[in-house]
Symmetry: C2
Subunit: 324 residues, 2 copies
């Protein structure tokens, strides 16, 4: 079947394309009777305006580009759920791009988006990024951008983030309160603000409890989960005095479970683990995982000129529950 476009509608109605277009745009120069005929035919043939023609004419795409490290992760999949829902309610479309924490991929995606395909960007930066000049392009082209979670603080734009430092301080303090003295910190990245803030909270809690900071105990995420498990196993073997792990992301907690299982170390008895997590099933893990749930966001006002119609819910950080 032929595409149902303005030309086809005009043929069926024996009207000019211009008249059909005016009728659909509710122009005052078209009679109510003609408008009614055009609308009825458009509905009958299930006409949808060509989005590319509308975008060219209006210089908007009604599309938001979402750039994420990954989606197979309970935190980011909940984020995508939320973004898609709000976008749909506002008749916006969501283009999804995954960097898999790869820097080159993030650069290529950012470059791709500045040509007019999207009206704005929601972004969580790849943990492997060390150089952020590719993000300057978003500002140069006046593309409204909101960073969330793994934010880039070098671009003066809206950010949605959590109280990373305070929560990490509380999480580390919770391990110390439960008797841990040699606490490993598994961090996501040291070039990202989120990584530095979480490590800062960890270090501050150690300091306030007179526990010396030990560089060897701070380790970073590897390119794959298998490498994460190997890295954690190596650390636990080198340092059998480790009695607590503060994992700054969920996947590192799961890798810690696997490493402990491989080494025959009992979680809770030998090693206590706490993690940033939105894992709903944390309580069904064996043993249950103590988590810090992202519930509060700190909302930085966008600079003037940025059109953000959506405000963010205030969420709350919950201190982790006790181990059992």
């Amino acid at each position: 079947m032929e595409p149902v476009n303005l030309k086809r509608l005009a043929q069926e109605l024996k009207l000019s394309v211009a008249t059909v277009s005016r009728a659909l745009n509710n122009s005052s120069s078209t009679s109510p009777a003609t408008k009614a005929r055009v609308v009825a035919m458009a509905s009958k043939l299930k006409y949808e305006p060509n989005p590319h023609a509308s975008s060219l004419r209006r210089h908007t795409s009604k599309t938001i580009g979402v750039i994420l490290p990954e989606v197979a992760n309970p935190f980011f999949s909940l984020v995508v759920n939320g973004i898609e829902e709000v976008a749909r309610d506002q008749n916006y479309h969501v283009l999804l791009y995954l960097t898999h924490d790869n820097y080159e991929r993030e650069v290529a995606i950012t470059r791709l988006l500045v040509g007019g395909r999207i009206d704005g960007v929601l972004m969580s930066v790849a943990s492997a990024s060390q150089d952020f000049t590719h993000l300057d392009l978003l500002r140069e082209r006046n593309i409204p951008t909101v960073f969330f979670d793994r934010v880039y603080d070098g671009l003066h734009t809206a950010q949605v983030t959590t109280d990373n430092c305070d929560s990490s301080y509380a999480a580390t303090g919770h391990l110390i309160d439960n008797g841990c003295r040699t606490i490993a910190h598994l961090a996501v990245s040291n070039s990202l603000y989120i990584g530095r803030a979480r490590t800062r909270g960890y270090a501050a809690a150690l300091h306030d409890n007179r526990i010396p900071f030990d560089d060897e105990l701070v380790r970073y995420a590897q390119p794959s989960q298998r490498q994460d498990v190997a890295m954690i196993q190596g650390l636990l073997q080198r340092r059998p005095d480790i009695d607590g792990i503060f994992a700054s992301v969920e996947s590192l907690a799961m890798s810690s479970y696997e490493a402990c299982q491989n080494l025959g170390l009992s979680i809770v008895t030998a090693i206590k683990i706490i993690a940033f997590s939105n894992l709903e099933i944390a309580t069904f893990l064996s043993p249950p995982l103590t988590t810090i749930t992202n519930q509060r966001t700190l909302w930085a006002k966008p600079p003037p000129g940025y059109c953000l119609t959506q405000s963010w819910k205030t969420r709350r950080f919950q201190p982790a529950t006790a181990w059992n």
Copy 2:
């Protein structure tokens, strides 16, 4: 800063827009020297062609619409990972739409996509769908469509699915081999092919083991997880003879864990649970969850005229491991 478009490039180069366009399209009517100048300037200014203009001219959008029930689910998030990766490699974009298993939403999304925004659709049908006439629109408009997992078998098009019936037969048999005699089946939908096939496998295993099929033991997913838990609790209270649960999706297995926990029923000792699942952390659950992992896909050839350049990996179904 002004957008970097053909006009801007032409101004910078003191050439006509037509010449710049021809040079970028590598036309033979442009001299190599001019081409080199244009390409250098385009690179310097980080020019990207306007995707809407290209789409209008070429009648393609280089975009795939992905319609899923949800993404906060390990199976679908892995699916999105795979789709995005293949699409990116082929310079395609991915528009993501979530139905949240809502029929009206699925109809609205399908209707929206037929206007030319996408070149093809990858779709897993909402479990609440009873009427599929909205999907006929995809065929009428000649939009290449591939259904996967929750397939719609009424449209003669490519499908990617698993051996639902055989795997369900094996899963139910595994429960019977482990001593279960009163096995509840928690199903996702009875209007979808996937739901009917899984229930068929369950019923066949009961039959071959001379266990009567009991309608009361087959229950369907509710609109929310809280309602799922309540439904399962109610069933377990009404039927204390239930000693096994075959959950046809992961979320129903997790709700079963919660229901058993709420009722103080010991999983494994009192009730054994098996589920279709891609949950990586199933072995860390307490107790570990026995799963059937989607590894094999049955690949139906697309009808002539459909352009599918991507073939699908053959995956294998693994029988569930023993309980421990």
